[in-house]
């Protein structure tokens, strides 16, 4: 396992280098920049801007800038946010907690809901509940996340609710943790969870249903039934166990969608994650922040894929990485 892990990490390095080139190129192609916008600000003198330029080597050739930026990343320095006048890494760490919390919680909730629903729809294929669930699944797949968010906000506002947007009501934002604050968070949390998770829930539910139907028609299920095992044992120990394994690789493939959903949901619902941060930085051309966040989302994706592969090896005894 150790050598497999090492190999995966070594293979990821050239990919990450290429990603850094792409990310840097995209930012270089952007017309204008934060400092160009600053030129129009009468309160900032031309000398100040020239000084900033020199300080961050922005007057140097492009490849020097790239190497400087890359060298910084290796040392853990992601550059400086012109917009916030603070180092990028500090700003990202502040938002990373909520981002990972939201994404991880969504994965958990998605699986806890989608697997039983998938099993249910596979066992009761033509019932009205299954039809309704399938419809919700199609709805989830065919509706962009931001539209789901708008619809939920609309429904909550129509029914007289106010717990939309953000993760806390104003009076709890800076309050210390308490039971009331926790309840307030739960009241806000369900909207982002649905917005981010609906897509994944629908996919996993459909896949679980298809896998289970596949497995149930296998010979070893008939054998298990023929030797007189209880239906409960046949279903849970033989069928479901085998039907879940392919889903774990699917979880890895779902990660990019999950990250994208988290970003757009956070922008619409103004959640304190990296989503609105990326959006503001893009609009203000705060280049170091944008580059750091793009790199970070790629790293998150790679780590997630690696975790999914390791989990698969742990769950499925037939798979061994050596």
């Amino acid at each position: 396992m150790g050598s497999y892990l090492l190999r995966r990490i070594l293979v990821a390095i050239p990919t990450l280098l290429l990603i850094s080139v792409l990310v840097f190129a995209v930012i270089q192609l952007q017309p204008g920049g934060f400092l160009e916008n600053l030129l129009e600000d009468p309160r900032v003198s031309r000398e100040t801007i020239e000084n900033i330029r020199r300080q961050y080597l922005l007057d140097q050739p492009v490849w020097v800038q790239y190497l400087h930026w890359l060298g910084g990343i290796v040392r853990g320095d992601f550059g400086y946010s012109f917009l916030n006048s603070r180092p990028v890494s500090e700003l990202i760490w502040e938002r990373m907690g909520w981002t990972v919390f939201l994404a991880a919680l969504t994965i958990l909730v998605t699986w806890v809901i989608a697997i039983p629903l998938g099993i249910y729809t596979a066992l009761n294929r033509y019932g009205p509940t299954s039809t309704a669930l399938n419809f919700v699944g199609y709805f989830g797949l065919a509706t962009p996340d931001f539209l789901v968010a708008l619809l939920l906000i609309f429904l909550v506002l129509q029914s007289g609710g106010t717990a939309v947007g953000g993760l806390f009501s104003p009076q709890y934002i800076d309050a210390p943790w308490s039971w009331a604050r926790f309840q307030d968070m739960l009241a806000h949390l369900w909207i982002p969870l649905i917005v981010i998770g609906l897509d994944g829930t629908a996919t996993i539910m459909r896949q679980m249903r298809a896998n289970l139907l596949d497995v149930l028609s296998q010979d070893y299920i008939r054998t298990a039934r023929a030797k007189g095992l209880a239906e409960r044992v046949v279903l849970w120990k033989h069928a479901v166990r085998n039907a879940i394994n392919p889903l774990i690789s699917l979880a890895g493939l779902q990660l990019p969608t999950l990250i994208s959903s988290t970003i757009i949901a956070s922008i619409v619902l103004s959640l304190p994650t990296i989503g609105p941060f990326l959006y503001d930085s893009l609009l203000n051309k705060d280049q170091y922040v944008v580059m750091a966040l793009l790199m970070l989302s790629a790293v998150l994706l790679m780590v997630g894929n690696l975790l999914a592969d390791l989990l698969l090896a742990w769950v499925d005894p037939r798979i061994r990485y050596e």
Partner: protein, 360 residues
């Protein structure tokens, strides 16, 4: 050849057996027809502002007067102020019934197939009042007309984007799978890089490369370019896998033995055998482009005024206040939902009809 053995005919028969597939096919044809005729079907010009009808709710169409069927008519709306909240509210002005006229020529001319015309299928005579079937936005522009004209952008972005992605994907995926070696390694690395960054952040970053000074038609092409730039990677990977499998097939070996050139083998022997597979993949990839464009435009990073697209129209519903006061601004979302759903069902039915799953 006997018609019953023609594979295309057989696939068509299989397709007709899928009810959701046929219905979505009809829906898609209808949607594209509407987009094509948008200027004619829209009662108002998409850019004309009505300062006296800002945020006007949808007008109800009446078919009966005093219990008797009459020519369809609407009531003009009167703006009043709520005495307590000072929010403007609209009330039907029962003294002003306005008949809906069909085939009327009025208003700003629009372009249709290169001609300038101002014929509209229906509308209310300008001197008699307004007709806004789905209400208006913050500038008093007709939402219904904007949705119709916006469909031209929203529905074509996907098709053009998929075509470009496919051209690149087939070429690079084909080369990668056919030649192997270092070319393969290089192309695979590039696709891996593009697939390793989550879609939305990189799309957002790429769309800020488009200069703000560009006219909206250039921005439209720019958005298609951005979507295709990311989209081809997944397709190239799929094509590569298929080509790798087909390269070993007997008829390809035979073509090599006859001295056919590499390009000829790829284009004449391998790609035609992948065509059904490619068409199905393209159809199923299309919704991703529609959703991608709508998300970008919704965030203000995509299509810009004076063009319209469904995502851009939804941007007006972004703040919580307009969402609760003017819920009709959400209607463009219904069209995104319908078109994406239709493409999904249509693609599923095509896949079953072409029976390409067995080749995976």
């Amino acid at each position: 050849m006997d018609k019953r053995n023609n594979p295309l005919y057989l696939a068509w028969r299989r397709f007709l057996r899928s009810k959701p597939g046929v219905i979505s096919g009809v829906v898609l044809i209808a949607l594209y027809l509407v987009a094509f005729l948008a200027g004619f079907l829209a009662p108002n010009n998409l850019a004309v502002q009505h300062p006296d009808a800002v945020y006007q709710p949808p007008q109800r169409v009446y078919f009966f007067r005093d219990g008797r069927p009459v020519r369809p008519y609407v009531y003009q709306l009167k703006r009043e102020r709520d005495p307590v909240t000072f929010i403007s509210i609209y009330r039907e002005d029962r003294t002003r019934p306005t008949p809906i006229r069909f085939l009327i020529a009025q208003g700003e001319p629009y372009r249709f197939l290169g001609f300038k015309t101002n014929w509209h299928l229906f509308g209310v005579a300008e001197r008699e009042g307004y007709f806004f079937p789905l209400g208006t936005d913050q500038f008093g522009r007709c939402l219904f007309s904007r949705i119709l004209v916006g469909s031209q952008v929203s529905l074509t972005v996907g098709v053009v984007g998929v075509l470009i992605s496919f051209a690149i994907g087939i070429l690079l995926g084909g080369i990668s799978g056919y030649f192997g070696g270092w070319v393969d390694t290089l192309i695979q690395r590039i696709t891996e890089v593009l697939l390793s960054i989550p879609r939305l952040p990189i799309l957002m970053a790429l769309s800020t490369v488009i200069p703000a000074s560009w006219p909206s038609t250039y921005v439209y092409l720019g958005i298609i370019a951005v979507l295709s730039f990311i989209g081809w990677a997944g397709l190239a990977r799929v094509v590569r896998g298929q080509v790798l499998a087909l390269r070993e097939v007997d008829y390809v070996t035979a073509a090599v033995a006859q001295g056919a050139s590499n390009l000829r083998i790829i284009l004449r022997h391998i790609v035609p055998n992948l065509s059904s597979y490619l068409i199905v993949t393209a159809t199923l990839a299309l919704p991703g482009y529609i959703i991608g464009e709508s998300a970008l435009s919704f965030l203000g990073l995509g299509i810009k005024e004076p063009m319209a697209s469904w995502g851009l129209l939804l941007k007006d519903a972004q703040n919580f206040q307009s969402l609760s006061l003017y819920p009709w601004l959400l209607t463009p979302g219904i069209l995104i939902f319908i078109s994406v759903l239709a493409y999904n069902f249509f693609g599923d039915a095509l896949r079953d009809a072409a029976d390409v799953r067995s080749r995976d």
